[in-house]
């Protein structure tokens, strides 16, 4: 009897200890070890941030040169006071780790193909694709270039700062997500910072439509293709219009004969960045402002996430003081201002990723033809650790173009190698670009900094207290012959290589133009008279409303700029709706829809949060687009095809309402534009009737359903419904999952007058009151005053806490 009791108790105790210590994985989710996760000493309770957590702290024995003082203001924005550049980088690394460690870890895992190590088989395909695209090679090449720079010491200091924080972490202090996923943080390295730049490159410069374009060209023939897919929108207002430009246009290089490899490519498109990725920036000269001082504005539109992509801080040394936002994992503020100048960034969107068809010389695919010679491939062996199963090994083949990403056993003559700028060792070492911007004092120093920039190419806007404004298309841009890289190229001849790079002096730039402002919104960098060919994914509408608005404005105040950032007007709607109404035959319309139509006629094309007109427009226009381009839907063999841009569709609605494009393929009738417009109107109204039945108070923001997801897609840590106006091609570019990720307005008077806000909070801890505290003000269009000061006493008055970091000796 006694023995039985003892055995029962021992077995029970042991099995519970084991059960509560292991993580249980189901197909949908993985449950963390319940014992350690629920223990108030080791588990999630430890991340319950309490008022007594904000205690002043002192860190001694740090690997810094001199002491660092960090004063946090009431929004948890750190103001760092250091005596040298390395210590600034160290402090930034420490702060990024302290508040955003999981975000940094998951971003590096995503860019290095190491997600499966913590998430298991469900991310294996994603990791394989990342590895096949050569992200590892790209990061190593980037690091190699950085190591030659004198400023590499800053990356090393940043790394030390991150690791100083990680080293002193006890398991119970691990960020919540580490506990949920049951793994430990690993030390930071400079290579991981290089991977962060690869992550940025994936978001900003990996977009291309080469396969879809080649297939569409093969299907439609050159004439129809050119009619539907012109590269220039004649109504576009370029970033650097030739009449406002200050740079000397050099002669173009020699072009070579095109040898496009036309044919169908059955490959599915790989992961491409979301369409909503884009941004606005502009600067107005003192001649256009009420105060007479320049104003600079920037709002990058990126995936909205919690924690936010941005971290806000001020860094001060005796040499400079700079305020702005950085991306955790990368040193220096990427967007911001200092005591003399301000700068901001939008994406250039030129195509720097091209595909080359490989002609193998043997069935084993170990060599390929290149200029009539047989060239062996080289291999890069990728080993992916997978949680809960064996390692997966992939030998990726590399050609002179780059990795062979698309490969099929039964389709070997269509294997494709990728040539991507982001994989190359930078010809210019661009490590210092953003560091130099942080401490630039004038236009000359800005220009020197941005000329050294490599990639992903950015439209870097600038304004200074001395009154200069400028905007430069910055980065290395490939020199291409006409239409090169628009379609898949023959990879067996060296003449299909890029012809080098556009000379730095010929990068488009605009400085102090007569019109009194510079502006960019991911539109075409230049007017068509620019002597070099380039293609890309350019925005057609935001740039135009921006240039139109700024041209009309005068006596500009900071508040006007804030309103412009939140402008919901869509030129797409302004141009499409009259053509839609013109082509609508009202005799066939249900009476109950007439009232709705009347409202739509009076609508001012503004996608405001609480009105219904934008829903009807969006439904109606989307249906017209889908019905029209039905012939370009991917076929049953899912061959990807390209559909015309919106501006082209609208132009055809005006210019060719009887063309064959309006015909619906499935029907015998030969439809013209008015048939499509009416059918789309019926479908849209039927759908809207249904939506209104479900929710009588339906309005634009509810229909658009924007949300802010947690970076690991944990619903409890996400925000479900954003209440604001905005549309994908309005300046306030709100989409379902992306939008203005940081709004900044800086007036460069004697006293800097700066405002900014991002939809998140400084702390990445879901248990912190600073996790999402700025979201509701951001939704309402409010801004925080950004206080840049060297006056420590002023900061201490409202300080939440102070951290002192002291070196060993």
């Amino acid at each position: 009897m006694f023995w039985r009791k003892l055995i029962v108790v021992s077995v029970l105790l042991l099995s519970l200890l084991i059960l509560f210590s292991i993580s249980i994985r189901t197909k949908e989710a993985s449950i963390p070890p319940i014992g350690s996760f629920l223990s108030p000493f080791t588990g999630f309770w430890q991340q319950s941030e309490c008022p007594w957590n904000f205690r002043n702290d002192e860190i001694v024995g740090a690997a810094t040169k001199e002491p660092i003082e960090i004063i946090f203001d009431d929004r948890l924005v750190p103001h760092v006071f250091a005596n040298n550049n390395e210590d600034v980088a160290y402090a930034q690394g420490y702060l990024h780790a302290k508040y955003r460690l999981f975000q940094m870890d998951i971003a590096v895992r995503s860019a290095s193909g190491n997600l499966s190590e913590i998430l298991g088989e469900k991310t294996l395909q994603f990791d394989l694709e990342t590895r096949r695209k050569g992200f590892g090679l790209g990061a190593e090449n980037r690091l190699q270039a950085w190591q030659k720079s004198k400023d590499f010491a800053l990356v090393e200091a940043y790394t030390k700062g991150v690791n100083a924080y990680i080293e002193c972490l006890k398991p119970q202090q691990y960020p919540l997500e580490f506990k949920l996923l049951n793994y430990s943080p690993e030390p930071w390295t400079p290579l991981k910072t290089a991977y962060m730049v690869m992550a940025m490159s994936r978001t900003l410069c990996s977009k291309e439509t080469d396969i879809a374009s080649s297939n569409t060209l093969a299907k439609l023939g050159k004439d129809t293709f050119d009619l539907l897919f012109p590269e220039w929108n004649p109504k576009q207002s370029a970033i650097v219009p030739s009449d406002q430009s200050t740079f000397v246009i050099p002669k173009a290089g020699k072009t070579v004969v095109d040898s496009n490899a036309v044919g169908y490519y059955p490959y599915k498109s790989l992961q491409t960045p979301d369409e909503g990725i884009g941004s606005n920036n502009w600067a107005v000269a003192g001649s256009k402002t009420a105060s007479g001082h320049p104003i600079l504005c920037n709002d990058p539109h990126l995936d909205l996430s919690l924690p936010s992509i941005w971290f806000e801080a001020q860094y001060t040394t005796p040499e400079f003081s700079t305020y702005g936002v950085s991306i955790p994992g990368i040193p220096f503020n990427l967007i911001g201002f200092n005591e003399y100048v301000a700068w901001g960034s939008t994406n250039v969107s030129q195509d720097v990723l091209d595909w080359y068809k490989i002609r193998w010389t043997n069935e084993e695919k170990t060599a390929y033809y290149f200029d009539q010679k047989s060239v062996p491939v080289s291999y890069r062996v990728e080993t992916i650790k997978v949680k809960g199963s064996a390692d997966v090994v992939d030998s990726v083949k590399y050609t002179t173009w780059g990795p062979v990403v698309y490969s099929q056993a039964d389709n070997s003559y269509k294997d494709l190698a990728m040539h991507w700028l982001a994989l190359e060792e930078p010809m210019q070492n661009d490590l210092s670009t953003f560091f130099d911007l942080n401490r630039a004092k004038n236009y000359t120093e800005y220009e020197a900094a941005v000329r050294a920039y490599h990639s992903p190419a950015q439209n870097l806007v600038f304004a200074s207290k001395s009154g200069d404004i400028a905007l430069r298309v910055s980065g290395q841009l490939p020199l291409k012959r006409k239409e090169q890289g628009r379609f898949i190229e023959d990879g067996s001849v060296s003449s299909n290589r890029w012809q080098g790079f556009i000379p730095q002096l010929a990068n488009p730039e605009i400085m102090n133009p007569p019109r009194g402002f510079v502006a960019s919104a991911n539109q075409h960098s230049t007017t068509p008279d620019y002597p070099y060919y380039y293609n890309g994914d350019f925005d057609d509408y935001r740039g135009r409303i921006l240039v139109r608005s700024l041209t009309q404005m005068g006596g500009i105040k900071v508040e006007d700029m804030m309103q412009l950032q939140q402008n919901n007007h869509s030129i797409e709607a302004e141009e499409a709706l009259p053509a839609m109404l013109m082509n609508l035959d009202r005799t066939g319309i249900d009476e109950s829809w007439e009232a709705r139509l009347g409202k739509l006629r009076k609508w001012n094309y503004s996608f405001d949060a609480d009105i219904i007109e934008p829903i009807l427009f969006d439904l109606w226009y989307t249906k017209i687009y889908d019905l029209t381009w039905d012939e370009l839907n991917p076929g049953p063999d899912s061959i990807p095809l390209l559909k015309p841009e919106s501006w082209r569709t609208i132009a055809l609605l005006y210019e060719q309402p009887n063309s064959i494009f309006w015909d619906i393929q499935k029907t015998y009738k030969k439809e013209v534009a008015s048939d499509i417009v009416l059918e789309a109107f019926r479908q849209a109204n039927n759908q809207l009737d249904g939506l209104l039945k479900a929710d009588k108070k339906l309005s634009w923001y509810k229909y658009r359903k924007s949300k802010i997801n947690h970076i690991a897609r944990i619903p409890a840590f996400s925000i479900d419904q954003i209440v604001n106006g905005g549309y994908k091609n309005a300046l306030n570019a709100m989409k379902e999952k992306s939008g203005p990720s940081w709004r900044m307005v800086v007036e460069l008077g004697p006293e800097t007058n700066a405002y900014g806000i991002y939809p998140g909070g400084q702390s990445g801890n879901p248990g912190s009151r600073f996790y999402s505290n700025m979201v509701s003000d951001w939704e309402k269009g409010k801004y925080n005053k950004l206080v840049m000061t060297r006056d420590k006493d002023r900061l201490r008055e409202k300080a939440l806490l102070t951290i002192l970091i002291k070196p060993a000796n």
Partner: protein, 124 residues
């Protein structure tokens, strides 16, 4: 009703184990208190159902109170989010579940400790 004497040795053991477990828990793995409870059960040597209650009460109370203090300081900001992960548990339920997990392991541990003592006494 008459109150129990506050110097009842059982309750003193409960409080002692809770206090000691609270002191060592921040410095070890989550189950560190189990070792302490085994030793506690061995020394206190309770009989019958108290073999279990000794550790259960000590750890249940300890975990509940510590989590409660953190949750109040945090205004249930985090526990309400974690509750959603666990199928919509309210904060107070999450507190009780946490304390129960600790309590059960604590109870089994003191049971085990006391039986070991039985075993040794039998042999000697």
């Amino acid at each position: 009703m008459k109150k129990r004497a506050s110097l009842n040795p059982f309750w003193i053991s409960v409080i002692l184990i809770a206090l000691l477990a609270g002191l060592v828990s921040p410095f070890g793995p989550w189950w560190i208190f189990s070792l302490l409870c085994i030793v506690g059960g061995f020394i206190a040597w309770p009989k019958g159902i108290k073999r279990f209650w000794l550790g259960f009460l000590a750890i249940f109370i300890l975990w509940f109170l510590v989590a409660l203090v953190l949750d109040i300081g945090n205004k249930s900001n985090l526990s309400s989010k974690i509750g959603q992960l666990f199928g919509g548990l309210p904060s107070i339920a999450l507190l009780l579940v946490s304390a129960l997990i600790g309590g059960i392991v604590g109870g089994l541990s003191t049971m085990f400790g006391s039986y070991i003592k039985d075993l040794m006494k039998q042999k000697s």
